[in-house]
Amino acid sequence: MRSNEAIQPSVLLRWGDGLLVLLAIIASWQALALWGGSDVMTTPIETVRHAVQLTGQSRFWPHFRETATAYSVAAIVAVLGGLLMGIALGAHRLTGEVFEPIFVALYSIPKVTLYPVVLLLFGLGIEAKIAFGAMHGIIPVTIFTLNAVRQVNRTWLRAGRAMGLSPAQSILHIVVPATIPEIVSGIRIGLSLALLGTMLGELFASKRGLGFLLMSAIDVHDVRTIMAIALLISIFAWAMNAAMLAIDRRLHQRI
């Protein structure tokens, strides 16, 4: 709270930079659309107009709800599961050392190759998308949490005990604030990857959802709809990431 006045100018600067990037993106998009023609992509203004029109149609909303539900559940599973696994593995040194390389290896596998297995396990419904989204998101949350918990400085805990803190107070007032910045970074990446996983699931095999709408539009070469849905998903992903990044930066600022 006290450091607020000091960071004002840099916030303005960051907003200015963001605006510049946005303008550059729109300009190159417009140029690409003019160059490629309406068979390849629609212009920014057309896309926005069609996106507004699309969201006005009643057939759009069941698909939106499907994706939103799948993503929310996948995100909750990824975050809670990752936190639980990360804390358990981080608190016990040996287990953490055994499992961390396994998680890092899992992180680097292209999980799309496992999607047929996920489909066989969960069927074509929403469960497969949730599982696939959660699979993507849970790994970074686990790795970041594990490292955050493992790197809690023992001297801080000793100092806490020397000041007469109970074990519960030590966790609440030392372990939690010490690990939160790293954990939030993990959650930010986990939420992005969970969205990726959910969307991949919808694109490959699904009967509902924004990914399904997108695939149907591709089948009939409906460029306007493809662009409009891509825009909507991008805006959501960007907004979520920006919000998480803002929290992330605030927390990391002091360390």
Binding site: R2, S3, N153, T155, W156, R158, A159, R161, A162, M163, G164, L165, Q169, H173, I174, P177, A178, P181, R254, I255
Partner: protein, 276 residues
């Protein structure tokens, strides 16, 4: 308890065997007492159990055998009200400002806000940190961070302050200045101080008495009285008597330090033998 602020009664610390390592007899049996208001230092060869002694005296570690009596009652495995500890490593919390770091212990103890403000502001100005209250530890030098830790201990108004090589990581000039500040703090608070250090000159300069420890398992081979006036400072180092005390300390420690180095070499070669 009139002449014993804190005392060890046949204290022994043995760390149990871990894996292929043999159990380590770190400390004792040792019995001694520190007088109320005394500045007591402990010097000894590296690995002799100095830090173990501090852990046991603070209540952070329960000794394997024997008892620690603080102000008349035995310690029960927790750090009692009235004992403050300053660690060798930087123990400041990087997520809190200097002010919030210093207020940390008082807040956990539920002291009311006005009293916290009064005590924290006093401790910060006493330690020369008044200009840095809103800074985070990462913005401070190592010496300043250690001051934050001392201030954080000070606000709890301890009657016994234990310091484990608090200036170990600092450069020589900063060490001398911090030593003078420690003396000032000691005079103004009237607290009893136990300082662990490996610097003989530092122990000599600051202390009323200096316990010289043996190689492991650590006990005192001698306790040296310095006889310095209470209002001493680092100019003391120019006196001939100062040199005499330093020589005496070194004479006591020389053979122990060599023994300690031998222990290290022996444990290394036995490990090497097991590996081969």
């Amino acid at each position: 308890m009139t002449n014993e602020h804190v005392s060890f009664r046949d204290v022994e610390q043995v760390f149990p065997a871990r894996g292929k390592q043999d159990p380590v007899h770190a400390l004792g049996p040792i019995s001694f007492a520190i007088r109320p208001g005394e500045f007591f230092s402990v010097v000894g060869p590296s690995g002799c159990g100095k830090s173990t002694m501090l852990d046991v005296m603070s209540g952070l570690t329960r000794p394997t055998r024997g008892q620690v009596i603080f102000e008349g009652s035995p310690l029960d495995g927790t750090v009692p009200d009235g004992i403050g500890v300053v660690f060798q490593e930087d123990a400041s919390f990087p997520w809190l400002t200097v002010w919030d770091n210093v207020a940390f212990g008082l807040r956990r103890r539920g002291v009311d806000a006005a009293e916290i403000r009064r005590r924290v502001d006093y401790a910060l100005s006493f330690m020369g940190l008044a200009a840095f209250t809103k800074a985070y530890p990462s913005q401070l030098s190592g010496g300043m961070r250690q001051r934050v830790c001392i201030a954080r201990t000070l606000v709890m108004q301890p009657r016994l302050i234990l310091l484990d090589e608090p200036f170990g990581a600092l450069d020589q000039q900063t060490r001398l200045l911090m030593g003078d500040e420690l003396l000032r703090l000691w005079r103004e608070t009237g607290a009893t101080i136990m300082l662990i250090t490996h610097a003989l000159d530092e122990a000599n300069l600051l202390s009323d008495r200096i316990g010289v420890m043996s190689a492991r398992p650590g006990t005192f081979i001698s306790i040296v009285e310095t006889g310095w006036a209470k209002d001493r400072d680092s100019t003391l180092a120019e006196l001939p008597e100062f040199g005499a005390v330093s020589s005496r300390l070194w004479a006591l420690l020389r053979s122990e330090s060599m023994r300690a180095m031998g222990q290290h070499a022996a444990s290394r070669s036995s490990l090497a033998g097991k590996a081969a």
